[in-house]
Structures are given as structure tokens and as C-alpha cells.
Subunit: 242 residues, 2 copies
């Protein structure tokens, strides 16, 4: 008990302090707890990850979950790191930095598609985990061969990943059941009455953008648009002779 989050994150590492052999074996492993929680979150969202639900899915009592994690917040961190660890890292090969950046963005999109709840997790402690560090290390290599300094290399990667994260979660919100489109349908009439002739620009552009949110097409377009801007923006720094 009372293992620190760090030790839990690195529980597979050879240097991890082994649980004393005394006492009964835990009937389930920490991995089982984490993977069960991930399955719940994948299926029904983060709110479905309650201690009680995780316990029930493993046929254990709620309090037994605390044998493996110290708190729900810690569990969420373990989930995120496990997701990062299981993500397939983009293959770089001998491609240009542009291609590599695109692959980084796309693999982050795929990751959030697979685990939408990742977009809602903002606990910084995730960066302490082995899966996250491995991912970070790999993705930093996207900028190999450029003249970026370490600070800029980190900033560039953050820039790409933050874009992917924002854009991916917007894409996911569109086209799902319980969609914003439903809300839009119900509200459109009243909204039209209120807005009237004000904000002509917002109205015209909002319509063109699929009511700004209701259409999945808008999100797809925003992704490709943004990704090209990201790459062009980096190019201005990377490909410009000093």
C-alpha cells in the first residue's frame, strides 16, 4: 500500500520495488484494474470510471481497488500512461521532417479516436509515466535533421500535439450520438429569432462552417486546414536560412 504514483507508473520496470512476498497474493493485478478502467472509459466516457464500477467489472469490492491505486485521480493518470504506452508510435523511416510531423499529428489523432477520454484529462503528472516518456522521446525525433535547438524542439512538438489534441476532440464531438447537431436542431429557431440581422459575418461564416459545429465535415476540414498551417508555420522556422 501507499506506493507512490511514480512507483505505480513504473511498476513494470526492473528497478521497481517488488512487493514483499508476505501476505496473500492480490487476486487481480494493477494492470487488470487499469485496463478495466480504460475499457469502461472507452465505452462510456470518463464519468463511467467510478471506483465502484471498476470494482464491479472485476468482481471485487470497491475498497479493493485501493489495493492497486491510491485514488481515482491516480488511476486516471495510470490509464493515460497505459494508453500512451500501447499507442503505436509513428514510423519515421527516412522521411522528411514534414512527413514525420504529419505522422505525429495523425498518430495522436488516432490515439484520441481510440481513447476519447484522453482529451479531457489534464493531469500533468501523466508526463511522469514510462509510456508517456517513450512517446515523447520518439516524437521528438520527428525533428531530427533540423537545426532546432532543444527548447524549440520541445516547443515545436508541444505545438503539434496541442493542435492534434484540440482538433481531434472537436472532430470527435461531431458525428457522435448525443451530438451537438441535436442541440442545434432544437435551438436553431429560437436562436434565429434572437440573432435577427445582427452579426451578419458570424451568420454567413457560421453557416459556411456547417453551423460552426454541427457538421462533421467542418471538423474534418479544420483538421486538414490546421495541419497544413502547423507544417507551414514550422517550415518558416526550419527551412528558412538564418
Amino acid at each position: 500500500m501507499a506506493k507512490s504514483l511514480i512507483d505505480l507508473l513504473w511498476r513494470d520496470h526492473p528497478a521497481a520495488s517488488v512487493r514483499g512476498a508476505r501476505g496473500p497474493q492480490a487476486r487481480r493485478s494493477t494492470d487488470e484494474v487499469v485496463y478495466s478502467a480504460i475499457a469502461l472509459a472507452d465505452a462510456e466516457g470518463l464519468d463511467a470510471v467510478t471506483i465502484r464500477a471498476v470494482a464491479e467489472s472485476l468482481s471485487m469490492s470497491p475498497m479493493s481497488v485501493y489495493t492497486h491505486v491510491n485514488s481515482r485521480d491516480d488511476l486516471l493518470v495510470l490509464m493515460a500512461d497505459a494508453a500512451h504506452a500501447s499507442a503505436s508510435l509513428p514510423r519515421f523511416g527516412k522521411t522528411s521532417w514534414r512527413t514525420r510531423v504529419r505522422r505525429v499529428a495523425e498518430s495522436n489523432l488516432a490515439l484520441i479516436r481510440a481513447h476519447p477520454w484522453l482529451a479531457h484529462l489534464t493531469d500533468d503528472r501523466v508526463v511522469l509515466g514510462p509510456g508517456t516518456i517513450a512517446k515523447y522521446d520518439h516524437e521528438l525525433h520527428a525533428f531530427d535533421g533540423t537545426a532546432l535547438g532543444d527548447l524549440d524542439r520541445d516547443a515545436a512538438l508541444t505545438f503539434v500535439i496541442d493542435f492534434a489534441r484540440s482538433s481531434a476532440s472537436a472532430m470527435l464531438r461531431a458525428g457522435q450520438p448525443g451530438d451537438f447537431a441535436e442541440v442545434w436542431q432544437e435551438s436553431a429557431d429560437s436562436l434565429g429569432r434572437y440573432v435577427g440581422d445582427s452579426y451578419p459575418l458570424a451568420q454567413r461564416v457560421g453557416r459556411a462552417a456547417g453551423e460552426h459545429m454541427a457538421a462533421a465535415y467542418s471538423a474534418e476540414h479544420a483538421w486538414e486546414f490546421g495541419l497544413q498551417r502547423v507544417i507551414a508555420g514550422l517550415s518558416a522556422l526550419i527551412d528558412t536560412p538564418a
Copy 2:
């Protein structure tokens, strides 16, 4: 009661259905509820915005809050729209689109600085509110004079705002009490033991970036870096002759 969210958002609009004059006057206004909630969120974060806390700050019973809002989720939307309405919109004057984009980003940063909880709110229904629509309309004008089509104009603004949002919330996390730096201090030793000589690139870059998160300087740098990439990325589209 049972006013729809739309009607609540537009409660100040002339066309808003006036509450029937029958029955007692509400002792407090919806505005008071919303502003109280915002004050709580500004001071102690979104979690402090409980129905009971809002009620107490206005010396009313918890259930009376429901005279003004239909649910806590709706209250959060009202708060966000009120924050957008009260935000000072960037002045554009006769500046270039680059300057205008920078001002849009900076005013969004200022907004999230003033109301950090905005970064954690992801309810799409906020876009239905008058404050949000006014902000959207104004900010779209940043691209006046460019050849961007409506769809691209929307995507460009989303691109800028999403950057501001991600980057701003990273900046806020750094340098606050209850900082990630504390966690880092406690974990650094164990982490070093686990990571060992693996991931040399991540270690070198992470150190350069202020342990990736612990230093406020890193976030400031990421802001300026990202903003320049955003503008350069848009420039490749806007300033390139077709």
C-alpha cells in the same frame, strides 16, 4: 421555470420572453447567480462551483438556485457566455491581419488568465450564447481584407483560438501554487532512477524545456513560439499568390 438554455442565454435580449408578472419577484436575479458562480470559479476553480456554494454566497437555499438555472451544466454555460460577453474584444483599427491575429490570440490569453476555468469547459452549447457569438463575429473580422473563403476563415479562427486555449492553460498551470513543480521535486529522484540512461533525447530536451513543465519560462517560450508559428502558418496561405 423550465426556461430553455437558449432563453436563459439571451435573457437580456428585447425579444426574450418576459417572465409573467405573476407571483413574487425573485429575490435575486439570474445575473447575480451567474456572477456569483463566476466569482467562486475565479477564486477557487470550477470544482468550487457547487449549487450549494453558489446558494450560500447569495444567502439563499440550494434549491432556489434552480429558479434561475435548470442544472449545474447549464449554469456553467451561462458563466462561460457571460465571461465572453464581458471580455474586452481586441481592437483592430487599420492594422494588418498579422497584428489582428496576434491581438485575437492575446485577448484570448487574457480572457483565460482572468477566468482560468474557461479552459476546462468543453460544453459546445456555449456557442449559442450572445456573448460568444459577438466574440466570434468580432474575431472573424481579423481576417478582413484577406482572400480567405468562409470555410477557411472559420477554420483559421478556430486554429488561432485553439492554440491560445491550449497554450494559455499550459501557462497557467506553471507558476501557480499547487504547482506541477512541487510534484516534480518529489518525483525527480525516483524518476531518474527509473529512466536511467534510456531516452537520452527526451532527457536532454526535457531538461532544456525546464523539465518539460516545471518552469514557467518554458510556457512563456512556448506561447511566443507557437504564436509565431500560427502566424507564419497562416501567412503561407494568406500571403501566397494563387
